[in-house]
């Protein structure tokens, strides 16, 4: 759709295109892209270290209560999740519409995670 004539034929407003400056599009300079690639490799190294830390913590915390192990494991997993979502999925610099979708998803996800705790109030089968 780079040809303006074809764009007009397709009913696309070329002026609207011209007004869109997409910071996360593919119009970065080669230097910027190479800098991003170095960041990806650094994140990869970080994720590798954190995986080793997860397993290390598991062996170190085996004598501790299960609750402690769960909390530590989930904290490390959350940091890894942040790195993947933030850098690989570019959520640190994404558009508002994507954040909107994700906020709504998080609300429903939290509801879903808290749902099991309601079973204590369920009189059926008790």
């Amino acid at each position: 759709m780079t040809d303006p004539a074809a764009a007009v034929e397709a009913g696309v407003d070329v002026h609207e295109h011209a007004g869109v400056g997409d910071p996360n599009a593919h119009h970065h300079s080669p230097e910027q892209i190479r800098a991003e690639m170095r960041v990806y490799l650094a994140v990869f190294a970080g994720l590798g270290v954190l995986t080793a830390v997860t397993v290390g913590a598991f062996y170190a915390l085996r004598s501790f209560p299960v609750r402690t192990a769960i909390i530590v494991a989930l904290i490390i997993a959350s940091i890894k999740g942040f790195l993947v979502a933030g850098f690989f999925m570019h959520l640190l610099s994404e558009k508002k519409v994507i954040y909107g979708i994700l906020i709504l998803t998080v609300i429903f996800f939290i509801f879903l995670m808290t749902l099991p705790f309601g079973h204590h109030a369920n009189p059926f089968g008790s």
């Binding site: 759709m1 780079t2 074809a6 034929e9 397709a10 009913g11 696309v12 407003d13 609207e16 295109h17 007004g19 869109v20 997409d22 599009a25 593919h26 970065h28 080669p30 892209i33 190479r34 991003e36 690639m37 990806y40 490799l41 994140v43 990869f44 994720l47 590798g48 995986t51 997860t54 397993v55 598991f58 299960v66 192990a69 769960i70 494991a73 989930l74 490390i76 997993a77 890894k80 999740g81 993947v84 979502a85 690989f88 999925m89 558009k95 508002k96 519409v97 994507i98 979708i101 994700l102 709504l104 998803t105 429903f108 996800f109 879903l112 995670m113 749902l115 099991p116 705790f117 079973h119």
Partner: protein, 207 residues
């Protein structure tokens, strides 16, 4: 006649598959894949929720590390993380206009995925050999359901990557930017699959 054919073709073309839509700020495929990922969050969320319900409601709960292969799962975690970085490297090389390197990194991703699935098959085979099946107990039921569904997602990703390595790569000749965008959205899906494993690994294997 030609003019009519041209207009007809243009009318059929899906708009905003390369450039961002003015109102959303993203191209349509990207918005679509994020909506799909939102539904995927709810799908896996339902299973995580079931796991919480089963575990908190059980008087005793098996510890995954006592019989599951933690070393193999750790290896698989590294492999999946590696595959995530190869996807973004492929996308970056495509943005630089280098199809050859892009395809090498996509191939590396497929290789990582196949290694992951092979290791998982070994794990499953071992469990079955030890007479541990989904029907054995609730832990194994949720273990096989979650890792099985995750494995199917890996397989789905492999099929899509293979398509873009093979027949789908023709798009590069005429619409390089659109092809690059396609790899970006498949990559988003792939990172999500990696993200799910990041949480599955400690919850099923280490607790």
């Amino acid at each position: 006649m030609d003019a009519h054919a041209s207009v007809g073709h243009a009318e059929l073309e899906i708009p905003y598959n390369v450039h961002p839509r003015p109102d959303t700020g993203v191209y349509n495929a990207k918005l679509g894949v994020w909506l799909f990922l939102a539904s995927e969050v709810m799908l896996f969320g339902a299973l995580f929720s079931s796991l919480i319900l089963l575990r908190t409601g059980a008087e005793s709960w098996p510890r995954g590390y006592e019989f599951l292969n933690v070393k193999l799962a750790t290896f698989n975690t590294f492999i999946l993380i590696l595959s995530s970085v190869t996807v973004v490297m492929a996308w970056s090389h495509l943005r630089l206009g280098n199809l050859k390197k892009g395809r090498i990194y996509i191939s590396a991703t497929v290789l990582c995925a196949l290694i992951f699935l092979t290791a998982k098959a070994f794990e499953y085979s071992h469990e079955f050999h030890e007479h541990r099946f989904p029907k054995t107990n609730n832990f194994l039921a949720i273990y096989f359901t979650m890792t099985g569904l995750h494995g199917l997602h890996i397989l789905g990703g492999v099929i899509v990557f293979l398509y873009f390595l093979g027949p789908g790569a023709k798009m590069w000749l005429h619409e390089a930017e659109r092809y690059t965008n396609r790899i970006e959205v498949v990559g988003l899906y792939w990172h999500f699959v990696d993200l799910v494993w990041i949480f599955l690994f400690p919850i099923l294997y280490l607790m």
